[in-house]
């Protein structure tokens, strides 16, 4: 199968306009005849549900949590980018496009990224109209700050809770449609399978997490907005319930999984404390605007930070990258932190941390100003660590944060299964091999508010969709498969808990498929994961019953998928014999230890096709063509 990205012809800046004109429309009177299932209620899912319902489609929306407002978009801290150029500092759609393409280390599609930059401005307008309380200047105008990987101030924010406020905006819009009877909401539902009939996505199987019942829902199209797979590492900044299962079930039904090895390790997180740790907490990247990253110059220096004089400190980012300093992109900042710790310059109890120091910023601007900008983050840091960042530098270390890989989609956000659309972090499309800060919120809302409403209409107008309902035999088959797998998980009654397997999987991936990878390690990881998977299906202890509110069973299902998906990630990492963005293979690096791409052989999207359990997936290549930007070695010096 040849991957057709369906990128429209014509000049870059006209592609989306032209495409919107060429897309078929659904007669307004006919829209209510089409039913669409939306899985997930984060920024992408909530904005999709609301917008499609406003247009007149019949929408059914599903979320794992007890309320749509709790989706993990709520945790995003720093901000959302837009090319408004309100600051008159040289920004433009073109510059946002270019920064994003370059930040992604030239592994994303020009046309998608350009469209993202174009609609970024509409997003801000939309959110303001919804009453999102963005930060303001004294004039009443919107305030901006700068973020990693950019030299302009284009990030809009609401304190350190931008994701929360944007999500509550979208949740408000969704709630309005629920009240109007246009969206039917199903909470505490976990999508466990995709139902494909005559080659098209026509429904889903979900588990009711309260009763344990399996439920069937049919429709004319399915939208997945189920987020990323960072929790495959066990420890990440993701919420505990974030998982790959809906996407992975779709992969097994024929949706290709693109670039699974592209994972983002965020540089500024609170370091790991102990083995009981369940998750890692991000400290917004915006802190790098004022905080200075440093380690002691002498390896093994265990003195307290206050005892280390200015001349004994190495502000390694400022020294190595004078152009961007502390504002280099995330992958660069993370790798450098790891390198410092590898040189025995790490700080704190575990020696796996670097300092992020606000002393100079407080001296310069005063504690009030810094407190206003970052007060809530400082408070959160103090709660977790019992250290006061106003008085002593923060200790930070990289942690798994975001996954650029995801289900492959074309320009219309449709996967390789017709009728299955994938949005937000769940798809692969816009961030290449490294996402810039404040771009995830932008993409989630772009997909949901401004792209899917056009493209899904064209699909529905064109596809001959026969009438089907939940009585179709594919629903029974799918439901039976799910039931069998659940029963199997419960019946094993082994000697190890789900979490203990998950932790071990996480350790394998962090060690061999994390910030730095090499071929022998990846091969080793592949074997370790396989062995662990075999053990899982012989020795896991789930407990409880299937027809019950059973949180251990919820995790058991997700970990079973992670154990398969982890191997896919490792295989993809092995296939990509180059370094780019977040994928750093030690064999391919420049003299100064930066990621060294191989554009001749790897300037493509790699999309895995499922070919059966325990069979190697087939990787398809979508070549990336760059007509508007020149491929260069990324430099932030």
């Amino acid at each position: 199968m040849k991957l057709d990205s369906k990128i429209p012809d014509g000049p870059l800046s006209e592609k989306w306009d032209r495409h919107r004109f060429e897309l078929k429309l659904v007669n307004p009177a006919n829209k209510k005849k089409f039913k669409i299932l939306v899985v997930g209620t984060g920024l992408a899912g909530a904005s999709t549900s609301a917008t499609l319902a406003e247009l007149g489609y019949e929408v059914e929306t599903f979320c794992i949590q007890d309320s749509p407002r709790r989706a993990h978009s709520i945790s995003a801290q720093g901000g959302i980018n837009a090319a408004k150029n309100y600051q008159n500092d040289g920004d433009s759609i073109w510059r946002l496009f270019y920064d994003t393409i370059k930040g992604g280390d030239f592994r994303s599609r020009e046309a998608n990224v350009y469209r993202l930059a174009q609609v970024s401005n509409n997003i801000i307008d939309q959110c303001v109209a919804q009453g999102v309380p963005f930060a303001r200047e004294y004039s009443g105008m919107l305030a901006n700050r700068s973020f990693g990987g950019a030299q302009v101030s284009r990030t809009f924010y609401a304190r350190g809770q931008t994701g929360q406020q944007l999500l509550l905006g979208a949740y408000g819009a969704l709630s309005r449609q629920i009240a109007a009877g246009k969206v039917k909401l199903f909470t505490r539902r976990d999508m466990l399978d995709l139902v494909v009939i005559d080659g098209k996505a026509r429904g889903i199987i979900v588990r009711n997490l309260v009763s344990g019942d399996l439920e069937k829902y049919s429709a004319d199209a399915v939208v997945l907005a189920t987020g990323g797979y960072g929790n495959v590492f066990y420890l990440s900044t993701n919420a505990m319930a974030s998982n790959v299962s809906a996407a992975f079930a779709s992969y097994k039904k024929g949706a290709f999984f693109a670039n699974p090895c592209f994972t983002q390790i965020h540089p500024t997180c609170i370091p790991v404390k102990g083995t009981y740790q369940s998750k890692l907490t991000l400290m917004s990247e915006s802190l790098r605007n004022d905080g200075r990253v440093w380690v002691p110059k002498t390896p093994g220096d265990k003195r307290l930070p206050g005892q280390i004089s200015e001349s004994e400190r190495d502000y390694y980012l400022e020294n190595k990258y004078p152009g961007f300093g502390n504002l280099v992109p995330r992958d660069v900042a993370s790798r450098n932190a790891k390198n410092q710790c590898d040189m025995d310059k790490g700080v704190g109890d575990t020696q796996l941390a670097v300092y992020l120091d606000f002393e100079d910023a407080i001296k310069r601007s005063g504690q009030d100003v810094i407190g206003k900008k970052y007060g809530n983050l400082f408070k959160m840091y103090e709660k977790i660590t019992a250290d006061n960042p106003y008085e002593t530098p923060m200790k930070i270390y990289p942690a798994v944060h975001y996954t650029m890989g995801g289900l492959w989609v074309d320009y219309n956000l449709m996967s390789t299964i017709p009728g299955l659309f994938v949005l937000g972090e769940a798809n692969f499309s816009d961030h290449g091999s490294n996402r810039l800060g404040a771009s995830a919120l932008m993409q989630g809302l772009a997909d949901g508010y401004f792209i899917i409403p056009y493209t899904i209409g064209s699909y529905l107008a064109e596809a001959p969709l026969g009438k089907i309902d939940e009585d179709h035999k594919e629903f029974s088959l799918s439901s039976l498969e799910v039931e069998t797998r659940i029963k199997k998980l419960i019946s094993i009654e082994g000697g190890r808990t789900v979490d203990s397997f998950h932790r071990e999987l996480g350790r394998i991936l962090w060690e061999y498929c994390g910030m730095s990878r090499n071929n022998s390690g990846l091969k080793k990881a592949k074997k370790l994961i396989r062995d662990l998977r075999v053990e899982y299906w012989e020795n896991v202890l789930v407990g409880g019953s299937e027809k019950d509110f059973n949180q251990s069973l919820e995790r058991a299902w997700r970990v079973a998928d992670f154990l398969e998906f982890g191997e896919l990630m490792v295989i993809d990492a092995l296939e990509r014999q180059e370094s780019c963005g977040g994928h750093f293979n030690e064999k391919y690096q420049t003299d100064t230890h930066e990621a060294l791409r191989d554009d001749k052989h790897f300037c493509h999207v790699s999309a895995g096709e499922f070919r059966g359990d325990n069979r190697k997936p087939k990787f398809h290549k979508e070549p990336l063509t760059f007509e508007n930007v020149k491929l260069t070695q990324r430099s932030y010096k």
Partner: protein, 256 residues
Amino acid sequence: MKQANGDKCIKLKLKVWRQKTQGSKGRFESFKAENISKDMSFLEMLDVVNEKIILSGKPPIAFDHDCREGICGSCGAMVNGRAHGPEKGTTLCQLHMRHFSDGDTVVIEPWRSRAFKVVKDLVVDRSALDKIIQAGGYVSVNTGGVPDGNAIPVPQEIAEKAMDAAECIGCGACAAACPNASVMLFTGAKISQFALLPQGHPEAKKRVLAMVGKMDQLGFGNCTNEKECAAECPKEISIINIARMNREFLKSGLFS
């Protein structure tokens, strides 16, 4: 990874509310929580206890949780009679065990409120909060066709106040802490956000009447100025928001 230091570990006695389903009778069950590092969060302590329960073949304690960084609003329980435990301005997931002492007895109960039915153990049904928002907790604007972001200037001070109110995470602690099971802090916060911002003004009257009406209909009680809600709110949402809601409510009646 180094293990937690022995001297930083404590032992606790837990008394946890167990209830199989919504209709069934509940009871307290005791557990020993041993080798609890002071650096653990409260939920991580429960994880450790649950691992042991699972290995002993018994059903683990069910509790809602997700982001574990104090923003999603999923978690929450009464800990020794206090919503989200003893620390001010803290969700349960951000409460750390360093605030407990070796040998403490810790009583853990689900939110108690007529409108929040127990689903299982510490998990409650908070869909009533969503219903209040559905009644009008938004600006009725469709996607598209809106003016430029800077066409609606908002004075910084107003934006900050709106943000103070908008920080609510919808956890339900306010209703759980209130002797009347009133959810006015939650509702008042949303009404305040839109009463402050110009975007919310066109629908202000309709909104306050609909949301307050829904709140009453769902069985939440009234405010008698106990201020327990604001004292226990993990986001420290101010009681001013209730006053503002009342003002909006009066206004809507006086001038309609």
